[in-house]
């Protein structure tokens, strides 16, 4: 028989106002096994904790029930206090009589009765509690950052700065991500390349950072502190140790008409290419889909001109095995495809462009050298129409996204302002649903576009863009405030396409057993209090992979994710949660039901030799739980058809004892 102490907290008037705390402690005193029962104004205070500690010593308590707030709030506090008094912390149970009782009831008699029942349930559970000891696992002191955009770069730099090794895996030939394609950045209008490329160089030069560009994560195994990752380094057909990045091959390559993805197809590149002048690593890559030599064996021009002898047509993909303690996801975003938005004539006219394409058209390193020219005929545009929320905040038409893409209002204001500044002869219209500019110096920025630069902001949406035979774009729209239809003869239309997570994110999430929302954004462990951690231990989130955000916010989050990863890497050992599942191998029939429901990938199957009652041996397939990965959610215990799975600290018998105590008549 346990010797149980019951401690009822008033929580000031939070509990005491609707629960008769004295009645609760008096009644629970009569429960079997209870040797001590009291109530106190603030159990979590130092003097409250001392009451607990003293009672554990004086009454030789073997179990404790605290009737107080939610265990999320103070379970750790009371466990620590109990441990200080020499009691195993897992012998402490919390009966939540605040959030689940006093706060939601008005009638004191009913509240008191319910508090007593909740207390009884906790007492019934403590009777079956057993001391648990948390295990330990070692930590590999290296982090993996998946994605080499500004988010991944910032996270990697911060982790490296703290003295830990970091690997960046980037699927493109260069790190830098979307930010390399941008012209200027709001709200300060500094040039994106000027603030990003030094960071890219820092990554390359930092001795703690290894960059795996043109590489992808192939497989992830293991658990927090001990991830085993396979990285596929895709064949570039160029020896990166020899290539000097001189670019001679890219000038001589005879295949000239490959759509240049860095300029979003607005111009062409060769089959061997360096994405842009400031690429890191600055080495050439041969595009196997277009290279004559790789397709037909006839050419070899680049190998002839390469003075470094770096071209290697026989190069193969390479698989690299690495171990990590922490993984940071920074997979970023892409603009949505606009093929379902034909009312804007994106596929019909070259002069209807996305905002990202517009960035390239105004970028000094872009296809027009920074002079804004119409893609169709290279003339100077006079009337420009910007359309916001193309695919954002689309609730039900099945074409777009329900969420706000967050960055479009600001970059559209930036585009409009820059066009007006550089080309004062232009008329610029912006159509919007709402203008959303929360952020430091953001609203001031938008107002400058309207007030100083005379951009015509019109509340309303564009209904149709019709390309005319003479090259003009007929824009039909509504002005909701003036309640009239507008017809604008435009030279260019710029669409602020919604952003969505990079398509590689879904597959990656499966490998990491990290959860995602319905839009394929990674979910955080807690939306407010743990925003940069995935619910899966050891996985951290950086940048837009978690939700739309601009550069300042991305960098803040990237540093936050780095801080969390550093906190993990700084530990030599990890204390595991002892409330984990275990399987009774004699009852397990190897059906895989538990493995399928486990959100953390903690359950594996093995063939194990058993000595049967008749003294023969048999090989049986049984489940096995990795306690370092198991988060104790209990999904497997519910799914298990034979009842072999059980959760330490929350066993089936303990839960049933609680249910019995609640259902028992007074």
């Amino acid at each position: 028989m346990q010797r149980i102490g019951v401690f009822v907290c008033w929580c000031g008037s939070n509990i005491a106002a609707t629960v008769d705390v004295a009645a609760v402690s008096d009644t629970l005193k009569n429960e079997p096994g209870v040797v001590f029962s009291t109530n106190y104004q603030y159990m979590c205070s130092e003097s409250g904790q001392n009451i607990l500690k003293d009672a554990i010593r004086d009454y030789q308590l073997t179990g404790v029930v605290i009737c107080s707030c939610s265990p999320r709030m103070h379970e750790a506090t009371f466990r620590k206090a109990a441990a200080a008094a020499g009691l195993n912390p897992y012998m402490v149970e919390i009966a939540n009589i605040r959030e689940q009782c006093s706060w939601i009831h008005k009638d004191k008699a009913a509240g008191t009765e319910k508090a007593i029942i909740l207390g009884r349930a906790a007492i019934a559970k403590v009777h079956l509690n057993a001391p648990l000891t948390a295990g330990e696992s070692p930590v590999t002191k290296r982090a993996l950052v998946i994605g080499g955009g500004i988010a991944g770069i910032q996270t990697a730099l911060d982790i490296a700065e703290a003295g830990f090794e970091v690997d960046i895996v980037e699927k493109q030939p260069t790190i830098g991500g979307k930010m390399t394609q941008l012209d200027k950045t709001f709200p300060t209008l500094d040039c994106a390349a000027c603030i990003l490329t030094p960071k890219m160089v820092d990554c390359a030069q930092n001795e703690n950072i290894s960059i795996y560009a043109y590489s992808e994560v192939e497989e992830v195994k293991g658990f927090v502190g001990n991830f085993h990752v396979k990285i596929r380094k895709k064949a570039r057909y160029v020896d990166t140790t020899k290539c000097t990045g001189c670019g001679l091959c890219t000038e001589k390559c005879p295949v000239k008409k490959v759509s240049n993805e860095f300029n979003l197809g607005l111009d062409n590149r060769r089959a061997v290419y360096i994405p842009f002048a400031q690429a890191v690593p600055k080495v050439a890559t041969i595009d196997a889909d277009h290279c004559n030599m790789l397709k037909s064996g006839k050419c070899g021009l680049c190998a002839k001109v390469c003075t470094a002898g770096a071209i290697d047509y026989k190069q193969k993909d390479e698989i690299i095995d690495r171990e990590y303690g922490a993984i940071v996801v920074a997979t970023g975003y892409q603009p949505i495809a606009l093929d379902k938005y034909d009312e804007f004539a994106y596929s019909q006219s070259k002069d209807v462009v996305t905002s990202l394409e517009f960035e390239r058209l105004t970028n000094a390193a872009g296809p027009t050298g920074g002079t804004l020219l119409r893609p169709s005929d290279g003339t100077h545009p006079h009337t420009l129409v910007f359309v916001q929320c193309v695919g954002s905040r689309c609730e039900d038409d099945g074409r777009g996204k329900s969420y706000c893409s967050k960055i479009c209002c600001m970059y559209t204001a930036k585009h409009a302002m820059l066009v007006r500044e550089k080309y004062p002869d232009t008329e610029v219209y912006v159509f919007y649903i709402d203008v959303r500019t929360p952020g430091k110096n953001f609203d001031e920025f938008y107002r400058r576009a309207v007030e100083e630069y005379g951009v015509h902001y019109i509340k309303g949406m564009v209904g149709k863009v019709a390309p005319r035979a003479d090259g003009k774009l007929m824009v039909q729209a509504c002005d909701l405030l003036a309640n009239e239809q507008l017809h604008i003869e435009a030279d260019m239309v710029i669409l602020a396409a919604a952003i969505e997570p990079d398509p590689s994110a879904r597959h990656l999430a499966t490998m990491l057993t990290a959860s995602m929302d319905t839009n394929d954004f990674f979910t955080e462990a807690h939306p407010k209090l743990r925003p940069v951690e995935s619910p899966t231990a050891g996985i951290f989130l950086s940048g837009v992979c978690q939700g739309p955000k601009d550069i300042p916010e991305t960098v803040s989050q990237a540093s936050a994710a780095a801080a969390k990863a550093i906190g993990l890497l700084a530990k030599n050992k990890l204390t595991c949660n002892p409330c984990v599942a275990h399987s009774d191998e004699w009852m397990c029939n190897g059906c895989s039901a538990c493995e399928k429901v486990c959100p953390y990938g903690a359950i594996t199957y093995m063939d194990k030799e058993f000595r049967m009652p008749d003294r023969t041996t048999a090989i049986r397939r049984v489940a096995s739980v990795n306690p370092a990965v198991c988060q104790g959610c209990g999904a497997c215990t519910v799914a298990c058809p034979s009842g072999a799975m059980d959760l330490d600290g929350f066993s089936n018998s303990q839960i049933m004892a609680e249910v019995d105590a609640i259902c028992k008549m007074k």
Binding site: Y341, D342, E343, A345, Q348, K464, A466, P467, R468, A469
Partner: protein
């Protein structure tokens, strides 16, 4: 293949060609169109307010009749198709509307949208198949540049009509290709012709029609085809004669390509 067929009032007078060519072509394609007996006007000339029951009852009667006969219902006129399809949708999805409509009718045989309503074009695409149709063409319209005009009623609201993408439709273009002609893409092919505004604001209707006509002409079309008698009338009457393209029904083109039209004239 047998279908119940709802022609609609306009097809009995102004738009007889639309109806006649559709029947001839269906026959040539091995499809039997059984005209519903005692059908009444779909009510397309009235308001399409969703809480208006009385003007929709004729549709419900036709739909119910088609259910009894056990065939899918084929329509042809864009306006009839729109009203019948929307009414059918309301009978299936809007319990309040269905209750009130059923109370007007014979409550012992309630109707809840069981009949499948398809447009003649959908029948060509999904039952006959445009590839099969192309094989049956005896007089291919090679070299003809034809502008498909959808108007507003055929495709919208997209969720109810479920025929094609209202912003980027292709069913009529595919149809034109099947007949051996070349479809002309022009931006105003799915905009309203202004037909409904003709009586109260003629200038507006003329402007809308002219935009459509000009847009098709600039795309160098030889003629415009449509499924809607109101669009046909409006495009022809409301645009200046100079530069006006011929506007014909898509079934006229179909009958011509299938070689059944001349035959009919001889008879």
């Amino acid at each position: 293949m047998i279908y119940s067929y709802y022609p609609g009032c306009t097809l009995k007078n102004k738009a007889q060609e639309l109806d006649r060519c559709a029947r001839l072509s269906a026959q040539a394609l091995g499809i039997t169109l059984e005209e519903l007996p005692e059908w009444q006007c779909c009510g397309g000339a009235y308001s399409m307010a969703t809480d208006e029951i009385a003007s929709k009852l004729a549709c419900v009667r036709a739909l119910k009749d088609a259910r009894t006969r056990g065939h899918d219902l084929v329509t042809l006129c864009s306006a009839c198709h729109n009203v019948i399809k929307q009414t059918n949708h309301a009978m299936a999805e809007d319990a309040d509307f269905a209750l009130r409509a059923n109370n007007y009718m014979a409550p012992e045989a309630e109707y809840h949208g069981e009949t499948k309503v398809i447009h003649y074009l959908e029948m060509l695409r999904d039952t006959v198949g445009f590839d099969k149709l192309a094989q049956k063409v005896t007089h291919p319209l090679t070299g003809k540049r034809i502008a498909a005009y959808y108007g507003c009623l055929l495709l919208r609201p997209g969720k109810v009509m479920q025929m094609d993408d209202p912003e980027n439709p292709r069913i009529l273009e595919d149809f034109i290709r099947a007949l051996g002609a070349s479809p002309v893409l022009y931006p105003y092919r799915n905009e309203c012709c202004g037909g409904y505004a003709t009586l109260e604001d003629k200038a507006l209707a003329q402007k809308k029609s002219d935009t459509v006509m000009t847009s098709a002409r600039e795309a160098e079309a030889d003629c415009i085809i449509t499924a809607c008698p109101l669009c046909q009338y409006n495009l022809m009457k409301n645009t200046p004669e100079a530069g006006r393209l011929p506007v014909i029904y898509f079934t006229e083109l179909l009958a011509q390509a299938l070689g059944v039209d001349e035959e009919a004239k001889r008879a």
